[in-house]
């Protein structure tokens, strides 16, 4: 594990990703304590105050401190995306592994249906689900999880099939091991790495998707200072105070980049290419 981390940060991309992730984790865990102001504290004298010593990232239309809102808002963005990805990945992984293990016609049926579901674009699926379930952060998480599951099932199945064809799995089957041992002890540990990589990269999509849903008014609801919501609010004032718009946009981009970088870094660290 520590060795893996070492290989991850050896490349600049991986190191940047890890640093960004640590910052994100700090914001999520300690956001309210790190924030210089209360996120809802209004200051009508400081409306649209430009970034400066009072408000590092400026102030919005009510004079609320943008930095404080970002720090507090991290909690309503990143953990939500993480949760959605984990639920989606876990259910996708179960479907994919089962399909690969069953093989034959069951596998074909499951995967064809899975592919058919993927014909509905992820955002559209999430939109339809949210409108069925009702607006709100929790429902958005479920919608994103459902939208992610088919893609994850496809990836997992490919990985599981590749592992199933390894000689050590054949050896286990030939010596009469039960399905439990074969799946849990022989296959799963060797299929984990690609699944973890894929999941990490997908967190960045989840962050974007969740922010998009909030931006459209279907995800997190005011007064939460979710980042997508902040962008939506700031749009109408972009002429007076572009910083109110740029700060949450940059936050979303950096969070997404962080997970992208770490995911790609993990891929390199786990599959070292030969030195040639």
């Amino acid at each position: 594990m520590i060795e893996l981390l070492g290989r991850l940060v050896r490349k600049p991309q991986g190191a940047i990703g890890v640093v960004l992730l640590v910052l994100l984790a700090f914001a999520c865990l300690l956001g309210p304590w790190l924030a210089p102001y209360a996120p809802e504290k209004m200051d009508f004298l400081g409306r649209f105050r430009a970034p400066g010593w009072q408000n590092w990232f400026g102030a919005d239309q009510f004079g609320r401190d943008v930095l404080s809102r970002l720090l507090v808002g991290a909690r309503s963005t990143v953990p939500m995306a993480l949760a959605a990805t984990l639920i989606g990945s876990a259910s996708g992984a179960v479907i994919g592994t089962t399909s690969a293990y069953l093989g034959g016609r069951a596998d074909e049926f499951i995967m064809r249906t899975n592919d058919a579901i993927m014909a509905i674009p992820g955002l559209l699926m999430a939109l339809l689900l949210v409108s069925t379930l009702g607006n709100g952060a929790g429902n958005a998480v479920i919608a994103i999880a459902v939208a992610f599951a088919p893609g994850m099932a496809r990836v997992t199945r490919a990985v599981a099939l590749a592992v199933r064809n390894q000689d050590y799995v054949k050896a286990a089957i030939a010596r009469g091991e039960g399905p439990g041992w074969v799946i849990l002890r022989e296959m799963l540990p060797n299929a984990m790495a690609p699944i973890v990589i894929e999941t990490t990269i997908r967190v960045s999509f989840a962050i974007m998707l969740f922010a998009t849903l909030s931006f459209l008014g279907l995800g997190a609801q005011p007064p939460a200072s979710e980042w997508g919501l902040m962008v939506a609010d700031a749009r109408q004032y972009m002429h007076q105070a572009p910083w109110v718009l740029i700060a949450p946009s940059a936050a979303i981009a950096l969070a997404a980049i962080a997970f992208n970088l770490v995911g790609d870094g993990l891929r390199d660290a786990l599959n070292p290419r030969d030195e040639r």
Binding site: G134, L209, T212, G228, M238
Partner: protein, 315 residues
């Protein structure tokens, strides 16, 4: 490519459409919307509501409702909009044509910029140009459409008053205005698509560069220029079709947000309005049209790929 392969591929597309039908119907059934209430408004009398329900077949068992709906949908009849009272399908198709214009422009820009950039970055692997383009690509895939759209509007419409921020003009009416209005939306989609296509092309080209046959071509004494043009680029270009077809799936999702932001009356915006007003027939028609478009593109891409790449042998 054998007829049997083609038949299997078409069958698969039909299956996809059937599954999508079931899904769309199931989700819209679960929507907390009473079609009769939506039609008659809040103050309708219980008797009137019951009459409308009976007329719409809302009291039938779900499977029967599905059968009715699917058989009508199969001939392109999705009913009338609850919001406007007009037939849904023609309205949605008009909206789709506007979206397709946007999508086509974006794909052309992507192919013209993303593909060459990706190949170029791979050929300069590890040098400054490669690092810079790769970093920009990272940024591109990490920005949600609404952020890109907003930032681009801020720069090109607000700070530099060059382009209109929102709206749509048909190219049949005023070509110059149409281009002006399409510029920002196309740019927004292209940022993400170019970044994605560029990354895929780069890794594809790197794989080809490391292949034995490129090494063999070099060791035959061919000059580097011929090796690159004839052996590397040719093979790296093959998967472009598949990559673009996959991106159509993204595009269809992405235009929902982009049309909403730039107020383009395309299918994405129509769907968004349908969803917020709980206009069931419009939601169903919009979702079906999107999924069928995606299934068609992917089937077409597979067929084209099979025609081009002679290595694929189908049984």
């Amino acid at each position: 490519m054998s007829p049997v392969w083609l038949a299997r591929r078409l069958l698969l597309m039909v299956y996809t459409v059937i599954i999508v039908c079931v899904l769309v119907f199931a989700i819209t059934q679960a929507l907390p919307a009473d079609a009769a209430q939506t039609l008659l408004g809040e103050n309708a009398s219980p008797d009137a509501l019951a009459a409308v329900r009976a007329r719409l077949g809302l009291n039938d068992p779900v499977w029967l409702q599905f059968a009715h709906w699917a058989s009508r949908a199969a001939v392109g009849n999705f009913g009338v909009s609850m919001r406007t009272g007009l037939p849904v399908a023609p309205e949605m198709l008009t909206a789709l044509s506007r979206s397709l214009l946007l999508a086509l422009c974006a794909i052309v820009v992507t192919l013209m910029v993303g593909v060459p950039l990706g190949i170029f970055a791979a050929l300069r692997q590890g040098r400054l140009t490669d690092t810079v383009t790769s970093l920009v690509a990272y940024l591109g895939v990490s920005l949600p459409e609404f952020v890109t759209a907003t930032v681009l509007t801020l720069v090109f419409s607000d700070r530099l008053p060059w382009l209109p921020a929102t709206g749509y003009v048909s190219p049949l009416e005023d070509v110059a205005a149409a281009i002006g209005h399409l510029a920002l939306p196309v740019l927004t989609v292209s940022v993400i698509l170019v970044a994605h296509v560029m990354r895929m092309m780069r890794s594809e080209t790197l794989d080809v560069l490391q292949s034995d046959y490129v090494r063999a071509a070099r060791l035959k004494g061919l000059p580097e220029r011929i090796v690159v043009v004839r052996h590397v680029v040719r093979n790296a270009l093959l998967p472009v079709i598949t990559i673009v077809a996959l991106d159509v799936g993204y595009l269809l999702g992405g235009i929902i947000v982009i049309e909403e932001i730039f107020a383009i009356p395309g299918i994405g915006r129509a769907l968004m309005i349908a969803i917020t007003t709980r206009d069931l027939p419009s939601i169903q028609a919009g979702a079906m049209i999107m999924a069928v478009t995606y299934a068609l593109t992917n089937t077409a891409a597979d067929v084209v790929y099979a025609l081009i790449d002679r290595r694929i042998r189908y049984d």
